[in-house]
């Protein structure tokens, strides 16, 4: 592998019949880092992950994973990739020890003591049948099966989905354990922003099939600001004209705006509000994610829209 990227995509596009699932996604996932993929349900996250693993064919564009075309991954390269699928699919009739033996038999780098430690921490027994496991235990087994082969690249599709707080914490620990080897890369999708903030170096945001962001968490925080305007603007004032607007919330006595840091933003806000006090504040990861993922028609929030009716 010649590049420092574990994953690179080039205008990766996928249509299901005439429905676009992924539109010209070009991104680079640095090797040795943890990248979190954010996006609403149906935004194309699972499609992107399936394309990376070569499970489906792109309509246009291409992806390179560990230096190889994702559609033609060699068995050797496949062995360097660990995958945890959405909902932790497992063959229900098999017992934990059977799955262990089955995987270990063809994984050259299989670490059996790591497998044993992981299943113990997720509260699993060797004799348990996969179909009898709780969600947390299924997640644990799927993680153990993906991590024990010591993959250089771990790809996970919403591994925290439906987990209770204890199982989620163990999952987080397992992810951090995986980064002990500094060369290892993790690419995972999630809605759990507190976990993402803890483990991710890089953030990618997919919004309705389009990649909006792919950069370091630090750069993303530097790029987005929250503005508070301490005045109730008349409803006819057009907030959509604010440069770099991501989201605006109208409250009875003020307006909260999430917007890209742009020299024109503060000026525009001052003009709109007739010189009222405008505060510029840093944004939390949640502000940023919600800002990017809010559809334009909802940019004036539900509660604020209702409050405006009441005051009139």
């Amino acid at each position: 592998m010649t590049d420092a990227f574990a994953i690179q995509t080039f205008e990766l596009t996928k249509y299901y019949a005439s429905t676009c699932a992924l539109e010209q996604v070009s991104m680079a996932v640095p090797q040795g880092k943890v990248t979190a993929l954010l996006g609403r349900n149906g935004s194309g996250k699972s499609t992107l992950i399936s394309l990376l693993l070569g499970l489906i064919e792109p309509t246009r564009g291409s992806a390179r994973v560990l230096g190889e075309d994702s559609g033609r991954l060699s068995p050797r390269t496949r062995g360097r990739i660990g995958f945890v699928g959405e909902g932790h699919p497992l063959p229900g009739f098999m017992r934990v020890r059977d799955l262990r033996g089955f995987q270990a038999s063809f994984q050259p780098r299989w670490d059996d003591s790591l497998f044993a430690t992981l299943i113990e921490h997720f509260g699993l027994l060797e004799r348990s049948k996969a179909s009898s496991l709780s969600r947390g235990q299924k997640a644990g087994l799927a993680m153990a099966l993906a991590m024990a082969p010591r993959p250089e690249l771990l790809i996970m599709d919403d591994p925290a989905l439906g987990l209770d707080p204890v199982a989620r914490r163990t999952l987080l620990e397992a992810m951090i354990l995986n980064t002990r080897d500094a060369g290892n890369t993790i690419f995972f999708s999630s809605h759990e922003l507190t976990d993402v903030e803890r483990v991710a170096d890089q953030i990618a945001i997919l919004d309705r099939s389009v990649l909006r962001v792919c950069c370091s968490l630090e750069m993303l925080r530097a790029r987005v600001r929250r503005f508070e305007v301490h005045v109730a603007l008349p409803r006819e004032v057009d907030l959509a004209s604010i440069p770099g607007l991501l989201q605006a919330r109208r409250l009875p006595e003020r307006i909260e705006i999430t917007a890209l840091k742009h020299p024109g933003t503060l000026n525009r806000l001052s003009t709109l509000s007739g010189g009222a006090e405008v505060e510029e504040l840093p944004a939390s990861l949640e502000d940023i994610a919600v800002g990017y993922l809010t559809e334009s028609k909802n940019r004036v929030s539900l509660l604020a829209a209702t409050a405006a009716e009441v005051t009139q």
Partner: protein, 136 residues
């Protein structure tokens, strides 16, 4: 090695910034002094359940500011305090805070003597909590 920063997620302050601020605060208040050892990057990351790169970034900034000293193979230590500012510059930096304190205190009806006594009392309490609170 009993110092451990506490981090909050969901904050507008990035995690690495929270670590930097807490180490600086602990040094300023004497909870950490020259030669005290901090956990390694990996150890702190695993205790706080965060990405090791985040801790590395915080330590890099503290290193650059001369607050800590990373000695290869030995560990991370609180550095010898260094005073980068001249006497005049130090005064210039403190004066706005003094002005704010005085304005507030005089408005609330304290006399200058009472303010001075309150400052001394406050400093004594901080020193006490540092010596008794070290194990926490």
């Amino acid at each position: 090695m009993d110092f451990e920063p506490k981090i909050t997620t969901g904050s507008t302050s990035p995690i690495f910034r929270q670590i930097v601020d807490q180490v600086r605060l602990a040094v300023a208040h004497g909870r950490l002094t020259e030669g005290n050892q901090l956990p390694s990057v990996r150890a702190l990351a695993e205790r706080l359940l965060i990405n090791a790169n985040t801790v590395a970034k915080a330590y890099a900034e503290l290193n650059a500011a001369g607050v800590i000293d990373t000695q290869a193979g030995r560990g991370v230590f609180i550095a010898k305090p260094r005073q980068p500012y001249s006497a005049a510059e130090r005064r210039r930096r403190l004066e706005p805070r003094l002005d704010a304190l005085l304005t507030e205190a005089l408005h609330l009806g304290f006399t200058l003597d009472q303010i001075a006594e309150l400052l001394r009392e406050r400093a004594r309490r901080l020193a006490d909590s540092n010596s008794s609170g070290k194990s926490s």
